[in-house]
Symmetry: C5
Subunit: 307 residues, 5 copies
């Protein structure tokens, strides 16, 4: 609930500032014309813009719904990535023996690579350099290997698979356990592919354009419907109504593309940090003292989870 106080209203209003200024100028012009040229007064029944308003509301509500679904699906996918990362780590820890140094190194490498996978997927979805954060969790050879790939997270999944094969060959995993870890990798591969699908599929833009067009038609007609009853007071009223509609439209546009490096994004970096914290704790309880920055992590979440 606290996070709600942090809405970057100014950020959003900033986005529609230009539109609002234009609309204000238009409303003032109509009011002035109405006042100075009473003989040319045009007044239309309020029903005309009202009907447009109903239609736009309906379409906007449906559209917000669809945009919200995309956004919520994206959030759910990253929630699934958290769950699968934890499950993968638990499986590695409980399927392999403890104590043996070689196996411990193996587990550490695998889990660190999983953390790197989360960070690199997060960066890759935003179209940024995949190695920015993930490089700290990868061994030199792994980086070298993945550089040959276009899709870095996919290359890390292949390394996961090859390490599973290695563990199976070494007898660290039995037949079922190998297949079980492979299934977890398949689910991670699914989540990755679904994120890419949301990223790469544009929202039907004709639909958007149509709503935008109706909205401006409505705003154009609105002053003529209101001026008779409100006179000069129609100016703030029109700005308020227009702002309300434009904000909802803007909101839908932002929600429908949840991986665009904007404040309304799915907080992939913050989620990756949570995964890092949990996986490190699961991997090595004794290293607890090295990650005591629990509070700061939370604050960072606050910054990213804002919507």
């Amino acid at each position: 609930m606290l996070l709600k106080d942090n809405i970057p209203v100014t950020y959003l209003v900033g986005k529609i500032k230009n539109e609002l200024l234009l609309i204000a100028a238009y409303a003032v012009a109509i009011a002035g014309f109405h006042y100075f040229f009473p003989q040319f007064r045009i007044s239309i029944p309020i029903a005309v813009p009202a009907i447009l308003a109903t239609i736009i509301s309906l379409l906007l509500a449906f559209r917000s719904n669809q945009a919200y679904d995309r956004w919520w699906e994206a959030r759910g996918l990253w929630g699934a990535i958290v769950n699968e990362s934890r499950s993968l780590t638990r499986q590695l820890i409980t399927f392999l023996d403890a104590g043996n140094e070689e196996e411990e190194n193996f587990k550490t490498r695998f889990v660190r690579r999983q953390i790197a996978w989360c960070y690199s997927l997060s960066q890759s979805l935003r179209g940024q350099n995949c190695y920015i954060r993930s490089i700290d969790f990868l061994e030199e050879e792994e980086v070298k290997f993945s550089r040959r790939y276009t899709n870095v997270p996919n290359s890390l999944l292949k390394l996961h698979g090859m390490d599973t094969q290695l563990a199976y060959k070494n007898g660290w995993l039995n037949d079922y356990q190998q297949v079980e870890i492979d299934r977890t990798l398949t689910r991670l591969c699914d989540a990755m592919g679904k994120c890419e699908r949301i990223k790469n599929t544009v929202f039907p833009s004709t639909y958007s354009s149509y709503i935008h067009f109706c909205l401006y038609l409505f705003i154009t007609l609105l002053p003529f419907g209101l001026i008779e009853f409100f006179g000069i007071f129609e100016v703030p009223l029109i700005i308020a109504i227009a702002a309300a509609f434009l904000l909802v439209e803007k909101m839908a546009i932002h929600l429908q593309d949840p991986f665009e490096n904007k404040p309304t994004d799915t907080p992939t970096t913050a989620i990756s940090q949570t995964i890092e914290r949990d996986l490190k704790e699961m991997l090595n309880d004794s290293q607890k003292e090295t990650i005591p920055h629990l509070k700061p992590a939370r604050t960072e979440e606050k910054v990213f989870y804002i919507l």
Copy 2:
């Protein structure tokens, strides 16, 4: 059905008391102005606020829908936790041999830890001390172990996994059974992660603000549309209409955050108690006499299941 009589209407009306007082004062002021200064009477066509009402209804209905979906998903997740807890217990009882004392102790420890997991998840989601109820079901070492973790329920799941490994090493579980129990743990891990996702993701707040803004715009215009037909009777009418809209809005706000320690929450504590009862019964039929408080448990549910 009985539970429906217990709605804390006063609780909810209490939440909008201040808003209603303000609105009443405003409506009275308008009516007074209308009566004492007939020459300045302002009357707008009822169509203007009516259109706003339609739009707000539409947006509010969609929003309630989304809030309801979150709430229902949260309820479904705790339903899944009930199911998985029972399945886990059934698996432990039927996969392991009966009679052997060591294995019986193992089962008891595992099932009690599962009860603790439910309570600690419930507390953790509400931001409260995870150990309040769960500590009674954990062994000292387990508490010590989990204290090193930020995420207590996750640490208990790791203990589950480590115990599964132990049972496998001891030959109590065969290859398939280990993997099968691991899958149940994966599903519990999923349910936990999904609850955390609902808890940590705020509802797009611009959307909420927009509805709130429209609602007050509507309430501001309403008296001018009604005063002509109803005179002083517009005051109760406006309070009634405003209350209706504000209540729906409040309801949506409550439903969308189902883990906030409010009366409209998902009844995680009551559900945990049901799990405790069922798991104890499944574990040890002979201990029946120690949990005969069937009726009181039901009453408690009544208190928590209210909505």
Copy 3:
């Protein structure tokens, strides 16, 4: 399609009889007042109640949608119970050897217990005695065992699990087959838990109250909007419109709680009978002559499937 002729319209109209009488009296009173005291005639623009009607329609449609979803989910769960019961029986018959008498007895006991499980779940969801029908399919010891439990169907599932363990110990089931039957039990456990969730979770009642409140506000205002055009004819019109709205509301209330022992319930008893018939046929083809009442079973369905 035939079933549609059997709608208990009188049953439903009976439920709203009192409300309708009250509304009729109110409408007559308004018409009388209008006729005898023409100087006090109050007439409001039809737009005011009309707007309320649109809003209520919208909310009622959304609410019916959610109630329908609950009802349909409940129906789907019992459909899943049919499927899983058949699959469980098929697995028992094809995983275990045929011919061996001990194994045949085992299968019979298991399948009969599954039938008992369906009946006891059906009764338990309606808050009735779990043993009414199921006791015919249980052995004495099983009844004794399950009486120690609060949740009878859950105790039968535990017995299922213990029998699976027995079959595994006896070498009747191999490793995979045990796990595979355990999975079917897990799915039955899921379906049971989901039914309990629907049963135990009340529909957000503030939402209902709000709609109810709006509905009466609308009915109160309606005569004043119609009297001018229809005169005394407004009385039947108001009754018709009010009846329509109240019926939809009543329908939603009935649909949202599908396990309340009402004619609109999910037909759990009829479905259990279908399961009984199919499982008996699958178990023992030669016993065919003992269950030739195919037609009567269908008629009974007719009675219960009504909505």
Copy 4:
């Protein structure tokens, strides 16, 4: 796209012919009354029927949505049956050895029985004789066996299961493969049960009656609202509007029951033919010459896929 040209409009219009004639007579009567008895002219504001129209549209849209969901679910289930039939065939072919005559016969019998299962389920859902087409694909003993069952497709699934057991006993399938085929059977059993659920569950009929009632109320009032502006031209207008609403209602009624042997049904026969073609091709590539009627099959689809 081509299929769209084949809409049986006359079929549908035929369904509402009587209603339309009645409505036309009513509209003409009102117009005549209006013309010959101008002193008794009744005219109501267009707003009254208009509001009813909005409400009916809303309810009809929601209802169409739910009917469409049922229809689409039914279509999806038959799509799943196609997929599972293909997967089952692929599993039989690749799990069992090739070349051995006994195993080849086994495969042929199994796959032919799967084709029979599809046809018998299709007939059974429509309440027709299950053996009409399926009998060509069953051996005499299989027909004899299934005749003892009320639910023929379920008996064939049991035969599938018994054959799987046989193959396991003979060592043709290993432990995993048996379980894997059993899972495919479970999914087929699910699809069958879900189709039966859609078939046996009537749509809440009170809901339908209510919409029907509102619709006629609306049509009754409509002429009084239009006559003032359109005079005699209201007759075609009323017929057109009434036809539009009645068609949507009829459409919803047809969509909601997709297994009633009507042109708007799920094309279960055509889909079964596709399954027959694909399974035969997969089973025996050399028999290709015996099924060259590819084109005619398509044409038949055209006839059945119509909506």
Copy 5:
């Protein structure tokens, strides 16, 4: 976001050009008639077309929703095909040994056939020659084999299955691994069948016709409602409003059939190219230099992903 600039507005407007010209002529005719024959002026209250507009908006919004769902499902299915293709490749690489030449050839053949499967499914859904692109990835015998089938992608899946059997016989895959790869094939088979279902199921066309009919009724009445207030200015207004409605309708028609070889299609070719790139990279890291055309692939995506 960039892709949004490329909307082929002209493409879409082109589609409704004829309708718009007709509507413009009609609007001009009405305006002319109104101007030259003032004695025959017909004016209807704006409420009549307004109500129709609301109803159409509602139905159009619902319909767009359903069309969008089909389109989004189709997109999701191709996303699943990407994921399963990657998972299949990872499984082949990590389940089989590396280094052995025979096994390497096996893997290469299998993965190339998977690429061919994607291309042939893409072509087959569009009703085009299945071999156009896929033939480059198939061996001669495979082409010969699949030519005997009506459904080419299904024949390739059978080859996948037969190769899995071969690998199992050769001891390259163990029992679990065979079954695990078979499951991946089952999921691919599912995705294929679901695409075919979307392709072969026409959208209920009565529903479409009804909306179309209402839309033209509305456009016919509109000029009479607007002419009184706007005079000659009604012409552009009517064109604008009609264009808006027709565009949304056209959009829905395009979205609901996502495999028709139109610019608004699911970009199956571009997705298949992405799969080709990823699978080749996974298969053979050293061949990197042969596929450096990363940028052009992206551009091509730009062309196809347009909506």
